[in-house]
C-alpha cells in the first residue's frame, strides 16, 4: 500500500494521500530548509498552508508548501 519518495537520495515511505510534509515528519525529518538571514532550520509550523515555513523543492521545481503538496510515487525531494 505504501510507496517511496527520495529525500536527498534516501528513500522515505509514504502512505497514499500523505503530504510531503507529513511523510518527512513521519520519517523523523523535521526541518528541510534554513532561513535567509539567520540560517535557522525550518519545517512544518501551521501545517495547513498559511505560514510558508515548510517550503520545499520537489523534482527540481521552485519551492512549494510541503504541508499542502500530496506526495507522489518517485518524487525527489532536496533539502537545504
Amino acid at each position: 500500500m505504501t510507496f517511496h519518495i527520495t529525500v536527498d537520495g534516501r528513500p522515505v515511505p509514504v502512505v497514499p494521500g500523505q503530504s510531503i510534509g507529513a511523510a518527512l515528519h513521519a520519517a523523523g525529518v523535521r526541518s528541510w530548509r534554513t532561513t535567509r538571514f539567520g540560517g535557522r532550520p525550518r519545517g512544518l509550523f501551521c501545517g495547513i498552508g498559511v505560514c510558508f515555513d515548510c517550503l520545499i523543492s520537489v523534482n527540481g521545481r521552485p519551492p512549494e508548501r510541503a504541508c499542502l503538496l500530496e506526495a507522489e510515487p518517485g518524487d525527489e525531494v532536496t533539502t537545504a
Partner: protein, 459 residues
Amino acid sequence: MTGAPYDLVVVGGGPAGVAGALTAALAGLRVALLDSGARLGGQYFRHAAVPEREPGLDRFLLQARLLDGRADVLTRHQVWNVSREPGGDLTVHALTRDSSGERPVTLRARRLLIATGAHDRPLPFPGWDLPGVLTAGGAQALLKGGGVLAGRRVVISGTGPFLLPVASGLARAGAAVLGVYEANGGLGLARHPLLALGKAGEAAAYAAALARHRVPYRTRHAVIAAHGEREVEAVTVARLDPDWNVLSTRIVGCDTLAVGYGFVPQIELGTQLGCETRGDPDGSPVLRVDAAQRTSVPGVWAAGEPTGVAGWRQAEVEGRIAGRAIVGEARPIARRGPDGVLLRRRRQWRAFGEALQRAYPVRPGWQSWLRDDTLVCRCEEVPLARVREALELGATDARSVKLLARPGMGWCQGRVCGYAVSCLAGEAPRPPRRPVAQPVTLGALAEAAPEDSPDEAAQ
C-alpha cells in the same frame, strides 16, 4: 473561462461551504465549490482517505457525497482573488496543480459564498521557530490528514477548548502528552466553561480521555520559551497570574510543542471586494453579515468562521441559512421563509462562540515572555528589538511598524504575526489588505487579465 456564469461559487469545502453549496444545488442552482485541500472537510473535518470516526463526520461525508455530481467540486484549487466585473458578475481567480504543473483557473459567478474558515492564532515566544514547535491545528492536521504523530513526547500550550481535542487525539494515537497548559482559567476541568455552556458531555469526554492517558491539565500555565539546537528539546513552563505575567518557571523535556491562542478568521476575499467588517469579541476582524448571511456587498454571502469564530456546528447552520437565502434570490418563485429551527440554532451557537471567546482571551502579559532577540515575524526574521525600534521612531500602528521594520512583509503576508504586531503596536487587529491572497506566478497573473485571456475572446 467557461461561458455562462455559475449561479453560485462557494470558496471553502468545510462544513459551511458544503452545507451552503448542497442547499443551493439541491434547489437546482448551478454551483461550483473550490477548496485548496485534496479532499473536502476543511480543518475540522480533515480526514484521511479512509476516515477515522469523529463526531459529525458521518453527516459531513454524506453531505459531501450528495454534493458530488450535483455541483462542480474543484478540490486542490486555491483562490487568490475575487473581483467584480463591470457587468456585475464576479470573477473568481484560482490556481490548481495537475501533472503538467500549476495552472490558473477562472470562474464567473453571479453569487459568491465565502466559507474560508480560520487558522490558528499563534503568539511569539523565544524559540517558537524551532522545528518541532507546531500550531495546535498543525499537529491536528498531521494526525487527521496524514495519520502522523507530531511527536512522541508532546507538550500542548495556549488557550481555548481546542487544546482538549488536540491533546486527547494525540494521546489516543499513542503520543505521551506531558501536559496541557491553559493560560486562562484557574478553575480546572471540573469547572470548565464548556459545562456552563451546556456542553457537559463534551467536557466530560475530554476530561475522561485526558485522565485515561494520565495527561496533566494545568490552568494559568503556559509554555513561555522553547529550547534546543536544531529542534525543540525542552520548554519553559510558567505559572501565570491572571494577566499572564510569569510567577514561576520550570523546564520540561519534550520533543514536540503544539501551541494555539485562538483563531484568525480568513476574510481577505471579503475585504478584497469591499465587504464591511466588525470586531469579534476577541478583537478579530470578521465579515459583517445580515440575518440571511449577506455581506454588505450585493451578491456576496459569508458563513462559518469568517463571520465570527463559533465552531463547526455554527458553520453548517450558517451555510444552510446562506444557501436558502441564495436560492430565494436566484429563484424568487421558490423563496421560502426563514427556517425557525436554523435561526434558533444559529443564535445559540453564536452565543456559545462568543462566550468561549470571552472565557479565553489573550492577556497582555505574553509580551513580557519575549526577549529583544525573539523573532516576532518568522518570514522576515524580525526580532522584537526591531519592532520596538520602529515604535520608538514614531510608528503608531501596526501598518507603520510593518513599513519600518518589515514584520508581515514576507511569504505569509502577516497571517502568522499580524495579531502579535497589532498587540505590540497597541491596537486591535485591522482587516487584512491582501489583493492577492495566495502567491501566484506572473504567468498566472497575465492569464488572469481579461484582455489577454484567449477563452474570453472565444466566448
